[in-house]
């Protein structure tokens, strides 16, 4: 069939020539948690944590998974991600970026569903007691080598262990092909989303100011350093950290008194001037 104009073509277009498919959005929400130490002198230990929800419907009923939902036919993907974040945390205007699109034809037992994952960073102080009932924060601990990544999730009651296999796709890049070795009971391919998000976060914390989305307005350099340390999975030297961070933060006249040691000056995030 031949048409003479774009308009004529569009009038006659049959949108069902190809079998359509369903799409969802999954959101990986990162934040920072404190864990009080028994020693009055010690600072509370910092973790980074992610938000999981317990499914109350099939498929994967009673399994933990990332907050997600179907994308409406007329809904922009970013908007769908924002809608889901809002549903779970009651927050809008939160930092969010697209992570990766997962499209294995067998990733959902119901039918072909392609999922676009997003990652988002929140300051937990902004949402205390606003979580929906079936949601819970899980502290994240991870270890990785060049073969696999082990992720331990813990919400105080339950512990989930994920093992993700890494196979270098190509020797010229940093791209790994991830595979789920142990899903710890997590639904869908969400272990892959979590692994991808941790990698992205770990990478971006080095060359962006992304971390400040997880920090409260006022924070000490010690706290900030701890957050860097848990995300990077290694200890940093104080003087080096302070040198590098110096032009991103601004000293305030407030201090934080936390116990049997010298009080700490509170800082705020200082945006770099537009370059």
């Amino acid at each position: 069939m031949k048409y003479n104009s774009e308009e004529e073509f569009l009038r006659n277009y049959n949108s069902d020539d190809f079998k359509k498919l369903s799409m969802t959005v999954d959101t990986l929400i990162f934040s920072v948690s404190d864990e009080k130490q028994d020693n009055y002198r010690k600072l509370s230990k910092k973790y980074f944590s992610i938000l999981l929800v317990k499914r109350d419907d099939y498929p994967f009923r009673d399994k933990w998974c990332l907050p997600g939902g179907f994308i409406g036919y007329d809904e922009d993907i970013d908007d769908a991600a924002k809608r889901i974040l809002k549903t779970e945390t009651n927050l809008s205007n939160i930092y969010m970026e697209q992570l990766y699109t997962f499209g294995d034809p067998k990733r959902d037992p119901r039918m072909r569903i392609v999922s676009v994952s997003y990652m988002s960073l929140v300051d937990k102080n902004r949402l205390r007691d606003k979580l929906s009932d079936n949601a819970s924060w899980f502290n994240v601990n991870y270890f990785e080598d060049d073969k696999k990544m082990t992720i331990l999730l813990d919400n105080g009651e339950e512990s989930i262990k994920l093992v993700i296999g890494k196979k270098l796709k190509d020797l010229t890049t940093d791209r790994y092909k991830y595979s789920v070795i142990e899903d710890g009971g997590l639904a869908f391919d969400h272990p892959l989303v979590i692994a991808a998000g941790i990698s992205r976060l770990k990478n971006k914390i080095e060359y962006t100011d992304i971390v400040f989305n997880m920090m409260p307005k006022y924070f000490t350099l010690g706290e900030l350093q701890q957050v860097y340390e848990v995300i990077l999975g290694k200890e940093l030297l104080d003087p080096a950290f302070r040198r590098v961070i110096a032009n991103k933060v601004e000293k305030t006249d407030k201090v934080e008194v936390t116990g049997g040691h010298r009080p700490s000056i509170l800082y705020t995030y200082k945006q770099k001037k537009s370059n």
Copy 2:
């Protein structure tokens, strides 16, 4: 409706509860081009280039666009991208990575189509004269500041100018919200895909060995440096470049004699040992 098991749920699942949508893959294929200089002494100038195809059907009939196509209902997304690359260039086993998923509900005039973009890097020597008829390589020149990115595409006959607006989404990251200011006649939202691809390439060339996917087996350090320079959009100092690149390449006993100047030693890519 309540079910007692996952199996029972799946047997009764109606996959048409949500209105489904269509998905496509678009592939951004990068390579390197030479342009002979008239002065016999001078080296041929290097560009990086992308492959465009001319549409022979509506919508956007006779406009240039990126190679793309619909994702089959049972087809993995990566496989769809490989299939399209193969169709256009007759090549398989080529470096390829997912770029970004574009889902503006209005991005296609026909209906709701979400597109997953891929970027791919090829050594043009591997595919001379294998291109499909409606495909053409366009040299890329680009300039950017913090407000916008201007991209000039040229295939020797036609010149296409793209202008993409950049708005910082968030002051804590490197994430820009891109918008098309000038599409130069390019179909769909493909100017956005190209801008995203150039940014990714520019970024990754600094911390991966991705560039060697575009290089022939044997190359001179001068050629390699030129490729770095056109992608990064700036000149590099010879000694510094050679220092940094030294552990990624291996000297061979071959030389390249190109004209009225000292011949150049040919190198090959040397993979780093697994770390």
